[in-house]
C-alpha cells in the first residue's frame, strides 16, 4: 500500500460560509497501480490530491503514506517525503519559467543534494526518455504545451518517486497530445512499477486506469 486515506475531510472557510472540499473520503492506492480520480470541476479532486501528496493537512481524518500516519509528521518531514517519494504533475505544468527544460528537471535532484554531474546525467536521461532530447536548453516559453507537460513528467520522475500525482495532466492539452501524455504516464506505471494517481475528467484516462474513483461534492461515489 502506497497511500491510504481514512475518513479524510478538508473544509475551507470562505467568508462566513464553510466549504467541505473533501468529505470523509476513504481510499487506498496500491503499489504500481494506475489510479484515476474522476469528477467534474470543483468536485474536490485537486484538494484530495494535495492531501494525499502532503501539500495540505486535513481538517479531520488521516492520510497514511507507506503505512505511516502523516498527521504526526512535521512540515520538514512532509517536505522530505514529497522530495524523495512523490512526483507532482500539474495541469498548467508549473515549470519555472527562467530555467531551461534541463534545469527544471535537475531542480528536484539539486534539492535532494545529488552531485551536479549526476544531476545532469539523470536529467538528460529522463528528458530523452520522454522524447525531448533535442529540447534540453529550451525555456518553457519556447516549448509547446505537450512538450512542457513532458518536461513536468520528467521532473516528477527525477528522484525516482514511488508515487506520481497528476492533477488534470491533459487538461491544457489538445486531444492528441493529451492521449500521448496519458500513454506516457501509463507506460511509466507499467514499465517502472511507479504508482500513478491521476485526477481527471478525461474519460480516456479513466478507462486506462486500474482503479477508478469517482468524486462529487467532495465525496467518493
Amino acid at each position: 500500500m502506497i497511500a491510504k486515506t481514512q475518513e479524510l475531510t478538508r473544509m475551507y472557510r470562505l467568508g462566513a460560509s464553510v466549504i467541505v472540499a473533501v468529505n470523509k473520503v476513504n481510499l487506498e492506492v496500491k503499489e504500481a497501480a494506475f489510479v484515476s480520480i474522476v469528477g467534474p470541476s470543483g468536485s474536490g479532486k485537486t484538494t484530495l490530491l494535495n492531501l494525499i501528496g502532503l501539500n495540505d493537512r486535513p481538517t479531520s481524518g488521516k492520510v497514511f503514506f507507506k503505512s505511516e500516519d502523516t498527521s504526526l509528521l512535521t512540515d520538514k518531514e512532509r517536505r522530505k517525503i514529497r522530495l524523495q517519494n512523490i512526483g507532482f504533475v500539474f495541469q498548467t505544468f508549473n515549470l519555472l519559467p527562467t530555467l531551461t527544460a534541463l534545469e527544471n528537471v535537475e531542480l528536484p535532484l539539486a534539492l535532494a543534494k545529488v552531485p551536479p554531474k549526476l544531476q545532469r546525467e539523470k536529467a538528460i536521461q529522463l528528458l530523452e526518455a520522454v522524447g525531448l532530447s533535442d529540447r534540453l536548453q529550451h525555456r518553457p516559453k519556447e516549448l509547446s504545451s505537450g512538450e512542457m507537460q513532458r518536461v513536468a513528467i520528467a521532473r516528477a520522475l527525477a528522484n525516482n518517486p514511488c508515487l506520481i500525482l497528476a492533477d488534470e495532466p491533459t487538461g491544457e492539452l489538445d486531444s492528441e497530445t493529451g492521449y500521448e501524455i496519458t500513454k506516457l504516464l501509463l507506460s511509466l506505471c507499467r514499465k517502472h512499477k511507479t504508482t500513478v494517481v491521476v485526477a481527471t475528467h478525461d474519460e480516456r484516462v479513466a478507462k486506462a486506469s486500474d482503479v477508478k474513483y469517482s468524486i462529487r461534492d467532495g465525496m467518493i461515489t
Binding site: 519555472l96 519559467p97 535537475e106
Partner: protein, 394 residues
C-alpha cells in the same frame, strides 16, 4: 542548483522593474557616498588643522573667528602685541603670523577655504611646518624682501605646474618660488609660505599690523591654560586659546556634521530598503505559483527563503556598485567645485578623496540593507499556503 544564476535570470525577466529598483538603490548610494566622502574629507581636514601648534597657545584679536588653529575671519593684531605676549610670564617664544585663506593666484575666491597663505618671520618656518622637508633643489624664502621668494605646497605646485624658480602673481606682485614643500598634509600641500613682512606688504600695504595671530610657546613646566589666562589678563583686545579650547570650538560643529551625515545616510538606507522590500513583495506575489511549485516538489523553506534574499542582495550589490562609482564621481565634482582644484588632480588621487575602506564599507552596508530588505518577502514566499495557491490557479 546555481541559485545566483537562477536569481539573476529571475531579475532579468523583469528587467524594467529590476532596473528601476537598482537605479533607486544606486541613487541612494550616490548620495550616501557623495555626502559621506565630502563630510569625511571636510572633517579630516578640519581636524588635521589642530595638529598645528599643538601644545602652543594661539593668540588672536578679540572676536576673530577661529577654526581650529587658524583665524579665518576677524581682526588684525598691532605690532606691539608680539612684544607683549613675549613678556608674559611663562611664554618661551611668540611668533606672529599672517594667515589668509581662500586666495587664488591672480584672484581671490570666496568658496575655497583650502588654499592658505601664511606669512612667518624668516627662520621660524618650523613653527608651522614642523619637520616637513622641501623637495630637492628648493630653499626657504630669503629674508631679503627684494627677492620676493615663497615656498608652495606640493598640490599647488602640481596644479599650477610650478618648479623652483617659477613665478607666480599675487595681489599684482610677482613672487618667485624658492622651494616646494614635500607633504601630503591637506593644509600644507595647499599652502603658500612667505616672509611675514612680504605678506604684510601684500595684504595690508603697510607693516603697522603684525598679522592676525601669534603663536605663543609656553616655557617648560608652564601649562597652556596658565599662559592663556595670563595673556588675556595682561593684554587687552586679544583672545588666547589653548589646544583644547580650539578643539572645543569646532568639535561640536564637526560632530553635528557627522551626525547629520549619518542621519542622511540612515534615511537613504531606509528608503532604499523600503524600495527593495516593495519590489521584492511584488515579485513574490507575481511568482506565487513558482514558489508553491518549489514547495510542492519538496524544496526546504530555507531554499525558497534564500532565493528571495539572494535576489534582493543582488539588487543591492549592483545598485551599490553603480552608486559607489557614480557617487565617487559626484564627490570629486563637489570637491573640485569647492576647492577650485582641477578634476584631473582628484582622479589621480581618487583614493585620497574616497578611501577604499569607505567604499567597501558603503558597499557592504548597501548589500546588508538589501539582504535585510529581502527578509519579509522571503518569509512571505517560504510560508505560502501551497494548496491554496495551487488550487486557486485553476
Amino acid at each position: 542548483m546555481r541559485v545566483t544564476v537562477m536569481c539573476l535570470r529571475n531579475l532579468l525577466r523583469r528587467r524594467f522593474r529590476t532596473s528601476l529598483c537598482i537605479f533607486g538603490v544606486s541613487l541612494a548610494t550616490i548620495f550616501i557616498v557623495a555626502v559621506g566622502a565630502t563630510t569625511t574629507n571636510y572633517t579630516v581636514v578640519i581636524r588635521e588643522m589642530n595638529i598645528f601648534f599643538s601644545g602652543d597657545v594661539v593668540v588672536v584679536a578679540e572676536g576673530a573667528m577661529v577654526i581650529q588653529a587658524f583665524p579665518v575671519a576677524g581682526g588684525n593684531l598691532p605690532v606691539s602685541v608680539v612684544e607683549k605676549v613675549q613678556q608674559v610670564n611663562g611664554v618661551k617664544t611668540a611668533v606672529p603670523m599672517l594667515v589668509r585663506f581662500g586666495y587664488q593666484f591672480e584672484t581671490v575666491i570666496q568658496l575655497a577655504p583650502t588654499n592658505v597663505s601664511v606669512g612667518i618671520p624668516p627662520g621660524n618656518w618650523s613653527v608651522l611646518v614642523g619637520n616637513t622637508p622641501l623637495k630637492p633643489g628648493g630653499n626657504w624664502p630669503s629674508p631679503d624682501l627684494g627677492k620676493k621668494e615663497v615656498v608652495v605646497g606640493s598640490s599647488l605646485a602640481k596644479q599650477y605646474d610650478l618648479t623652483v624658480g617659477s613665478e607666480v602673481k599675487m595681489e599684482n606682485t610677482n613672487l618667485t618660488v624658492a622651494g616646494i614643500l614635500d607633504t601630503r598634509s591637506a593644509l600644507l600641500s595647499r599652502s603658500l609660505i612667505l616672509p611675514l613682512e612680504l605678506a604684510q606688504r601684500l595684504y595690508y600695504g603697510h607693516t603697522m599690523w603684525i598679522g592676525n595671530m601669534v603663536v605663543a610657546q609656553p616655557e617648560e613646566g608652564v601649562t597652556e591654560k596658565e599662559v592663556t589666562d595670563r595673556i588675556e589678563a595682561e593684554i587687552l583686545g586679544v583672545e588666547a586659546l589653548t589646544t583644547d579650547e580650539r578643539n572645543e570650538i569646532v568639535e561640536p560643529l564637526l560632530q553635528d556634521i557627522e551626525t547629520w551625515s549619518l542621519g542622511i545616510s540612515s534615511v537613504l538606507y531606509l528608503l532604499g530598503m523600503v524600495l527593495v522590500t516593495t519590489v521584492a513583495m511584488i515579485n513574490v506575489s507575481e511568482r506565487r505559483r513558482d514558489f508553491a511549485t518549489l514547495d510542492a516538489i519538496g524544496a526546504p523553506r530555507s531554499s525558497i527563503f534564500r532565493i528571495v534574499v539572494t535576489e534582493t542582495t543582488l539588487i543591492g550589490l549592483l545598485g551599490g556598485l553603480a552608486g559607489i562609482l557614480l557617487g565617487s564621481i559626484a564627490a570629486i565634482l563637489i570637491a573640485s567645485f569647492y576647492t577650485n582644484i582641477p578634476l584631473s588632480m582628484f582622479f589621480f588621487d581618487l583614493f585620497n578623496i574616497i578611501s577604499p575602506f569607505f567604499m567597501i564599507k558603503i558597499l557592504a552596508s548597501t548589500v546588508a540593507v538589501s539582504c535585510v530588505a529581502g527578509v519579509i518577502p522571503a518569509i512571505a514566499a517560504s510560508r505560502m499556503n501551497i494548496s491554496e495557491v495551487l488550487r486557486s490557479e485553476y
